[in-house]
């Protein structure tokens, strides 16, 4: 069974934001909600590195642990999803998440938050796959169509890898071997633990 993971190869990421707009386009994510974003370290000086970040679909997801209404579930291939019909938009998961993934569309003035929204690994939610209602609540379900997350599929330099953890680790290892240097699997330890 596949275990779905994300990995961003910082040696290849050029902060072009294609992952961000691909996500916006695919799921029609509204202005102000960012399921994925690119973070740059040492901006403008030698050592500058960029990493594309979204929900990492953690093993033992901390968001699930803190959720007061237990709206999170993990699919067999390790994708962490949630049921928006249960979510109360409390914001606990945001504080629990090491990657700042959960987003809360604002539905009214004075900071009342809407239901939590986050990266679904393009796997929709607990509704009929690729139904209109699933699209409206969670976005497109590419996994059900046998496709991978669009952010990774459209990455300009193939820096962002998505798919079975072993397969992406293989590709990444080959790259590291080829170019030398130390692997920097940013976020993997937090997300998937030391054993992966």
């Amino acid at each position: 069974m596949a275990r779905m993971k994300f990995l961003c190869d910082a040696e290849r990421c050029i902060e072009c934001n294609s992952c961000v707009t691909a996500c916006k386009n695919e799921h029609e994510v509204p202005w102000g909600v960012n399921r994925r974003r690119v973070v740059t370290l040492n901006d403008g000086v030698p050592g500058e590195k960029s990493i594309s970040v979204a929900c990492m679909h953690c093993t033992d997801a901390p968001c699930a642990a803190v959720c007061p209404v237990d709206c999170f579930y993990t699919t067999d291939d390790g994708i962490v999803l949630h049921d928006k019909d249960l979510c109360i938009g409390c914001g606990y998961c945001f504080y629990a998440c090491p990657f700042g993934a959960p987003q809360y569309p604002q539905q009214a003035a004075f900071g009342v938050r809407g239901k939590m929204d986050k990266c679904t690994f393009c796997a929709g939610g607990p509704l009929q796959d690729n139904s209109n209602v699933e699209y409206e609540k969670y976005g497109r379900n590419r996994i059900a169509e046998g496709k991978l997350p669009l952010c990774a599929e459209m990455c300009s330099t193939k820096a962002l890898l998505a798919g079975d953890g072993d397969m992406i680790a293989d590709i990444y290892r080959q790259r590291v071997l080829k170019r030398g240097g130390r692997p920097q699997t940013w976020g993997w330890e937090s997300a998937y633990g030391t054993t992966g």
Partner: protein
């Protein structure tokens, strides 16, 4: 499981201290972009919250989805786009894994092109300005009113008083029709973005070895051992090219970036050379100094294939490490290391872009890059070459098909012979074509009388002066009175206040564009401005030429939205109104006002012999599009399948007729392959000798050539002398008699030359001494606006010119004034990944606009501290020409002390004022900002009139 406590994401960020360097994302967060923490705090204003688009454009379950194929309309990489369409609505985008160019990848812009088809900010109907208010009108009314006004101006002032500014966003067919339309109207005042992006490249490179285009391809960069980028920020301007570049790097290639800024591309380089803006020749000669000093040049290559290098040696001798540092600021060891990397890792390629081209001596820069590569023996080799990344998606095609004021399609020039060639192709009487032009001779650039038909028109960089200049000083009867801005952003041109004045002086301004553009709002015109909604390339079809000269076929994704029309239809309507539709579309079928695109392709196939746009018939182009997956992603050669042996998109030159089945030329000037299979020699373009020296190649010829030495370009008589005349068929003989490889409409001369293994255009040496240019050997010249007064005496600019492209052009009279006391900071400009060109379509696209919400200026912490400027603070930038812009300061070490950088994609503000109220309702872009070129200054290249936007001076003060 433990609850992991993390801080940071929502940690409140204290306001930074004065001059503290900051990263771009933090800057953005303060600009209002919500990232993680900001989202939780509910900091977004209600107005920011909206569903991106009308629900109608979302994919629906249970409805058949069609997949349609197009090509991205942003940059010149030529990424394949796959569109999902349901009931005629563009509902999704899928990666185009089959495209050998992008292998499914996109950048931010490419991943969001669907917005073109569903966006709400498009111009929806034809409109005109009446008493300062926008009024809707029908297409018929608009064409009638515009046509009547044009005819009135023609009668009063002649055809040259109308300027037609076209676009690098045209398809090849539209670009060709646009040039033809200007010709039928009777003017050479027609131009497009190539003038202000790579005109100095085209002129400089074509005059060195024959053609002015990228020699290799993005894919071929996999084979590089070294890559040097000068004035190219590929990571932001050509992001998908970085896939190929980083693959080369992982294969072991060394990567050098030379730039005044530490760009996102530089962040991936092995070696970074920071130079002062406008000192490219000095840097390249500084590198070449080490190459010559150490004998690293390729002596055999030079003796066989390069002419005039000894004269360059004399100039390079002056560029000792000390002098190079004095001028460029680059330390000697850094320059030496760059030279050594290039010398030790061959083949190596050079990449350059606008950082090198947009200078008063841009043609010197581009030629110096060529010389560096020639000295290293890198041209005409896989993994080598001059990989000149073009800008817009079809700026290469629009240049080839010539939306330009100084030539005709295929770089034929403007001589009577050229006009006669095209008249034959058009199947029109040359006399009729000539009668369309102003018949009175004017004083030309060289002071001699010249017919307007044979005289280079006013270029897009100078249309302002074509309006403002006294007609007495101009090389045409009257000033420009009507202006078309057809797919062209005025915020990419300099001198805002003068531009505003010029716009207000025009009798008529016609903007043809999918968006209203900055041009519609930056002036205070009250009447006589027309906005005609043009379709994007996704609403029509046709061919497009990528930077590597490959031609790709786009299918139509959706029907034109709202009342927009494709360019070819608008051109037909105008031609009909102006009375030359019958001539212009003589051999082109027209279906209810829309010319048949394939017929247009076939027509230019019949005439574009010079650069081999003759073999790429619509049928072959469609075959390539359908079989994209059969092409190798490194060589671009089809391995099996129906296009077996062809190179993807038949990169020009694709010699002869389509029936000849030439595969295209993937690498220019590569003699290791027979010409019939895509090999080439350097073009014999400049005669056979100069000053008694042989210009033809010596001992170098392409594989399989029956002439085992240099030879001139092929002519009918030469075939006879060689005894090859009888290889022509009787029909070919009839058409070829008295003609040459460029004018023989049968293609027979090309066919026979290639049959004998020869290049139709001859086999010569590349020339490093261009005797027809102001500086035959490229030399350093200080920018017009320079703070280095000590260098002005040693490296002065040119003398002012009385007439140059019909206009007086100033150099010395500006440089002689010292502005550096009041305007001490060097100012350069460039691109952002989310936006392109004038930025109108991207700033109207919420998915992109959200990522860049403020126009900004990058300031080094040292300058910020000296000026008392904090990060995120609004500042005024004043130019020595008394223009000013109000922008946000971004304090960063990306720029060196004393240098500031601004992006150039913003518009919709003018000198501190947001012009949102001046757009037609609902069409204002989501993000507006000051156009940096409002305050960019005078300065034009000495060969092409390229504007100098990569170096000027400014003053910065808190706003």
């Amino acid at each position: 499981m433990k609850l992991i406590k993390k801080r940071g994401a929502n940690a409140s960020t204290a306001a930074p201290g004065l001059g503290e360097a900051i990263d771009r994302r933090t800057f953005l967060r303060r600009s209002g972009v919500a990232l993680g923490g900001a989202a939780v705090s509910g900091a977004l204003p209600v107005t920011m919250m909206r569903k991106a688009h009308a629900k109608g454009a979302s994919p629906k379950a249970g409805i058949a989805t069609e997949m349609r194929r197009s090509i991205c309309t942003h940059c010149s990489v030529g990424c394949g786009v796959i569109a999902e369409v349901q009931n005629g609505v563009w509902t999704g985008q899928e990666p185009d894994f089959e495209s050998p160019f992008n292998l499914g990848s996109h950048c931010a812009k490419g991943a969001s092109v669907r917005e073109h088809g569903i966006g709400e900010h498009r111009l929806k109907h034809p409109m005109k300005l009446v008493g300062g208010k926008w009024k809707k009108l029908s297409w018929d009314e608009a064409i009638n009113e515009i046509g009547d006004k044009l005819m009135q101006i023609r009668k009063e002032s002649g055809p040259d008083s109308v300027a037609w500014m076209g676009s690098a966003k045209h398809s090849n067919e539209q670009a060709y029709l646009f040039r033809k339309m200007a010709a039928m109207w009777g003017t050479n005042n027609v131009d497009h973005q190539a003038r202000i992006c790579h005109s100095t490249t085209v002129a400089g490179v074509a005059n060195t070895w024959g053609y002015g285009a990228m020699t290799n391809s993005y894919n071929d960069m996999h084979n590089c051992k070294a890559m040097i980028f000068i004035g190219s920020n590929a990571a932001e301007a050509h992001p998908v090219a970085m896939q190929h570049i980083l693959r080369a790097k992982e294969n072991g290639a060394k990567m050098i970036v030379c730039d005044p800024r530490f760009t996102r591309t530089a962040a991936h380089a092995d070696h970074f050379v920071r130079l002062r803006p406008g000192t490219d020749v000095a840097l390249v000669w500084g590198m070449l100094w080490h190459i010559f000093e150490n004998g690293w040049e390729d002596k055999e290559y030079i003796s066989q294939r390069v002419w005039g290098l000894d004269r360059v040696r004399e100039e390079v001798k002056k560029w000792t490490p000390e002098e190079t540092e004095r001028v460029t600021g680059a330390p000697p060891d850094v320059v030496k290391q760059a030279a050594q990397i290039m010398a030790e890792n061959r083949p190596g390629t050079i990449v350059w872009c606008m950082g090198g081209t947009q200078h008063t001596s841009g043609n010197n820069n581009t030629r110096s890059y060529c010389v560096l590569q020639l000295a290293l023996g890198n041209i005409g080799k896989s993994g080598g070459g001059a990989n000149i990344f073009r800008g817009h998606d079809n700026v290469q095609g629009a240049t080839d098909l010539c939306v330009l004021s100084h030539s005709l399609p295929g770089y034929y020039g403007l001589s009577a012979g050229s006009w006669k060639h095209w008249s034959r192709v058009w199947d029109l009487d040359y006399e009729w074509v000539a009668s369309r032009f102003d018949q009175d001779k004017v004083e030309g650039d060289k002071g001699k009388p010249v017919s307007p038909m044979n005289y280079k028109g006013i270029p897009v960089s100078r249309w302002i002066d074509g309006v403002l200049e006294d007609p007495k000083n101009m090389g045409q009867k009257d000033r420009i009175r009507a202006l078309f801005m057809w797919g062209h952003a005025v915020n990419s041109q300099t001198r805002g206040p003068e531009m505003k004045k010029a716009m207000e002086m025009l009798d008529m301004l016609v903007i043809v564009d999918p968006y209203p553009t900055h041009a519609a709002v930056m002036n205070d015109r009250k009447d006589g401005t027309y906005l005609l909604p043009a379709s994007t390339q996704f609403e029509t079809y046709g061919s497009v030429t990528a930077s590597n000269r490959s031609i790709q076929w786009r299918d139509k994704v959706i029907d034109p939205v709202w009342e927009s029309l494709p360019d070819q239809t608008i051109m037909y309507k105008l031609a009909k109104k102006l009375g030359f539709a019958d001539q212009m579309f003589k051999n082109i079928k027209v279906n209810s006002d829309e010319p048949l695109v394939e017929d247009v392709t076939r027509e230019f196939n019949k005439g574009m012999w010079t650069i081999g746009y003759t073999g790429q018939s619509p049928e072959r182009l469609k075959l390539h599009a359908e079989n994209r997956k059969t092409f190798n992603t490194t060589t671009l050669k089809a391995e099996g399948g129906p296009a077996d042996g062809d190179y993807y998109g038949m990169p020009w030159p694709c010699w002869g007729t389509a029936e000849m089945k030439h595969p295209g030329t993937p690498i220019l000037y590569d003699p290791s392959t027979p010409v019939a299979e895509g090999g080439l020699t350097f073009r014999a373009r400049f005669g056979v000798e100069h000053d008694g020296e042989n210009l033809l190649a010596e001992g170098s010829y392409s594989k399989g050539s029956e002439i085992k030495d240099g030879y001139p370009e092929f002519k009918a008589d030469m075939l006879k002398q060689l005894g090859w005349w009888d290889d022509l068929t009787p029909e070919e003989k009839q058409l070829a008699e008295g003609k040459n490889w460029k004018t023989d409409l049968s293609g027979g001369i090309q066919r026979v030359a290639i049959k004998h293994g020869c290049a139709p255009f001859g086999n010569a040496k590349a020339r490093t001494f261009v005797w027809t240019f102001p500086d035959p050997i490229p030399i350093h010249r200080e920018p017009l606006y320079t703070p280095r007064r000590d260098l002005v005496a040693d490296y002065p600019t040119y003398a002012d010119r009385k007439r140059f492209y019909r206009l007086p052009t100033r150099y010395e009279s500006i440089q002689s004034q010292d502005f550096s006391k009041d305007y001490p900071i060097i100012w350069t400009s460039g691109r952002l990944v989310e936006y392109e060109g004038g930025g109108e379509e991207q700033r109207s696209n919420p998915w992109l606009a959200e990522l860049q919400q403020d126009m900004f200026v990058e300031v080094n912490p040292t300058d910020a501290n000296n000026l008392g400027i904090r990060d995120g603070q609004m500042v005024w930038m004043d130019s020595p020409e008394k223009a000013k812009i109000k922008v946000k300061a971004q304090v960063t070490r990306r720029v060196a002390p004393g240098v500031v950088f601004t992006p150039f994609h913003f518009g919709g503000w003018f000198q501190g004022e947001d012009l949102v109220a001046k757009y037609p309702q609902g069409t204002a872009p989501l993000v507006r900002g000051e156009a940096c070129n409002t305050a960019m200054t005078y300065g034009y290249d000495s060969v092409t009139q390229m504007q100098e936007t990569k170096v000027s001076l400014c003053r910065i003060r808190p706003a």
